[in-house]
């Protein structure tokens, strides 16, 4: 018997990712059913929030990688 916990087993990880993806798709499809009382027109576009959240996070991480090139220093930078 392996020492791995439930969450570490590849089989279970794949299962969780599948459930997660299914929830994402379900949330996207709910856009067709639920009516929005939008304050801005773009809120009514199909999948706006999902798309925006995804793009925002990818942009955030890619920009942070660039920022790291600019500001990252050795841990003892100020001590020298």
């Amino acid at each position: 018997m392996s020492n791995k916990t439930w969450i570490e087993k590849r089989k279970n990880l794949v299962l969780m990712v599948r459930i997660f993806l299914a929830v994402c798709i379900l949330l996207l499809l709910l856009d067709l059913v639920i009516h929005r009382h939008e304050l801005f027109t773009w809120e009514g576009w199909f999948g706006f929030y999902g798309f925006y959240g995804f793009v925002a996070c990818v942009t955030l991480v890619l920009a942070a990688r660039l920022l790291r090139r600019l500001v990252m220093r050795r841990e003892d930078y100020y001590d020298r």
Binding site: T5, I7, V17, F20, L21, V23, C24, L27, L28, L30, D31, I34, H35, R36, H37, L39, F40, E43, G47, Y49, G50, F51, Y52, G53, F54, A56, C57, V58, T59, L60, V61, L62, A63, A64, R65, L67, R68, L70, V71, M72, R73, R74, E75, D76, Y77, Y78
Partner: protein
């Protein structure tokens, strides 16, 4: 009217008693203080206030209106939870300074005039720094001194602004001030420093993570929230705050993604959350202000919870860098679960507290037509989830197994986290509990189908982005490193200039000394020539010679007299 004391006074008296008490009683006494304070606060809420006269100025030590009371309740609650969290401590310095610090915060939010506010402001600055010093490392001492310098500067600006304001208006009352005068600008800057406005924020991200595991829970609860209160009281509806606030929500998330010290990640996230409050104050509508102060309330609870969970990790393992942690869920499952509740709350998941307060600010921004602001806030919301909601629990408790095997933290830490988590969920599920205390009438309904759906879509697709970036290897790994920030200006550039100036001074001093040495030698030579043993003034003369000279002088006098 029932008799009640200024809330701050109870905390100061409590701090004194705790300082004198024997070690075994001290922890329990620290917890008693916010309880007694809470009982007093209840009486205070029934109506009352306290005024004293200082010379010819009337000082309003206690003004208990709805805005002050909300923060009063919050600070009592925060002190209670943090004291419970710190119950295992035997460190008198931390126990006493934490109570004085909390008392200062209460003094500030109940202060009805600028002089009382200033005094409380400085008490907070001085008391809080000991929570950083208490780490007792050289790094913490240095960071504490930098922190104190900034805090005291903020206090001096407040004092200057307050005195100018009093001389202009003739009244010390602390009400709406605005940016119309120099006094207003000075006070605004003082608040801005404590609020961690961009470019004057780095005292927070520099010093807070150097404090003790328990100290940071106190620190994150009071200073910035008092500043938020000050802005809400004095500068509601000041438009520039909207843009400052947006900048505060935006820039920290980039730093948070690449920061290795997980408590420093939370410090950046603290600035980000305060940014939402500042935007709300800048918009200034009732909905926005309610959103700002209720978010301050929730932030103290969920940020406190997250900091407690990271403090527990630091307390148990002695490590806090993402690069050294991971896999702790195996040995700290309860802490993991409670941390996830905090993460869900800060990310504004439906049924958790952030959901019912942050959205008020967002809706207010949309209602007033600030569409760029709204889009940026939405970006920041996704970013919060990314760095605070996912990164913190993921890198501490999951990710790669670091091999660290530890235990759950002491029971009192678990209880404090459990209570905080319960409050986060309680407020998230029954928002009316919080809305009832808000200073203005609340007409806002957080739980509508479209709001819940929008938020879930935003969060799930943000999580999807995290998962994808992680699988694709695009996610920046946790590295042992340090990131430059605005504190570089004074820690490197300023220090470099100071060192160069010091060098120049040393050189000038050397040159001066050499010049003085040469000049001195010449002077000595000259003196020796004249006064030395062979000098003209050192020659000995006989008494007769002197008598002769006296006779000559007398003769001259006599002749002159006759003439």
């Amino acid at each position: 009217m029932t008799a009640s004391l200024p809330p701050a006074l109870i905390f100061f008296a409590g701090a004194l008693l705790v300082a004198l008490a024997p070690g075994r009683l001290r922890p329990a006494m620290t917890m008693l203080v916010p309880l007694v304070g809470g009982w007093n606060l209840w009486h205070l809420a029934q109506g009352g206030g306290l005024e004293v006269a200082l010379f010819d100025i009337r000082l309003e030590l206690v003004r208990a209106d709805k805005l002050a009371l909300l923060f009063g309740i919050l600070f009592h609650l925060a002190t209670f939870l943090a004291c419970l969290y710190a119950l295992h401590l035997k460190d008198r310095m931390q126990q006493v300074s934490a109570l004085i610090y909390a008392g200062g915060a209460l003094g500030a939010v109940f202060a009805g005039d600028l002089i009382t506010l200033f005094v409380a402001w400085e008490i907070m600055a001085v008391a809080s720094v000991f929570l950083i010093f208490a780490r007792r490392t050289p790094r913490a001492s240095a960071a504490g001194l930098r922190y104190l310098t900034v805090q005291i500067s903020s206090g001096l600006l407040l004092l200057a602004g307050a005195l100018l304001h009093i001389s202009e208006t003739g009244s010390p009352a602390f009400g709406a001030i605005g940016l119309g005068s120099l006094a207003g600008i000075l006070i605004f800057t003082a608040f801005g420093i404590k609020c961690a406005f961009p470019l004057v924020h780095s005292w927070l991200t520099d010093a807070y993570p150097e404090s003790t595991p328990t100290g940071m829970v106190f620190l994150a609860s009071f200073t910035t929230k008092v500043a938020v209160y000050g802005l809400a009281r004095g500068f509601a509806g000041t438009e520039v705050l909207i843009y400052i606030g947006v900048a505060m929500t935006m820039f920290p998330i980039f730093f948070a993604v690449i920061e290795n010290d997980l408590r420093r990640v939370l410090a950046f996230s603290l600035i980000n959350q305060v940014g939402f409050m500042v935007v709300g104050i800048g918009i200034g509508s009732e909905l926005a202000l309610n959103g700002a102060v209720s978010h301050a309330f929730n932030d103290v609870l969920f940020k406190g919870l997250l900091l407690m969970s990271m403090g527990a990790v630091l307390h148990q393992t002695g490590k806090i860098n993402g690069s050294e942690l991971g896999g702790l869920f195996k040995t700290m499952p309860v802490t993991t679960g409670l941390c996830i509740v905090g993460a869900a709350s800060i990310s504004a998941f439906p049924l958790f507290s952030g959901f019912v307060s942050k959205s008020m600010v967002m809706v207010a921004a949309a209602e007033e037509g600030y569409w760029i602001v709204w889009l940026l806030l939405l970006f920041a919301s996704a970013g919060v989830f990314h760095h605070a909601g996912i990164k913190i629990p993921y890198f501490a408790f999951f990710a790669h197994d670091s091999g660290i095997r530890t235990r759950e933290p002491p029971l009192n830490m678990l209880l404090a986290m459990g209570l905080s988590a319960a409050l986060c969920v309680l407020i998230g599920v029954f928002p009316s509990l919080l809305y009832g205390f808000l200073p203005w009438q609340v007409h806002y309904v957080p739980y509508t189908a479209d709001h819940v759906l929008s938020q879930l879509q935003l969060l799930f697709f943000s999580a999807l982005a995290f998962a994808w970036l992680n699988f694709a290897g695009l996610y920046p790994p946790e590295l042992r490193s340090l990131n430059l920030d605005a504190d570089w200006l004074y820690r490197r550039l300023g220090l470099g200039m100071a060192r160069r100036a010091e060098n120049a001074w040393t050189k000038a001093e050397d040159g001066g000394a050499r010049l003085a040495g040469r000049g001195g030698a010449w002077l000595l030579d000259a003196a020796a020539r004249h006064y030395g043993p062979a000098g003209i003034l050192a020659r000995t003369r006989s008494t007769g010679m002197a008598a002769l000279w006296i006779v000559i002088l007398l003769g001259i006098c006599l002749i002159l007299y006759y003439l």
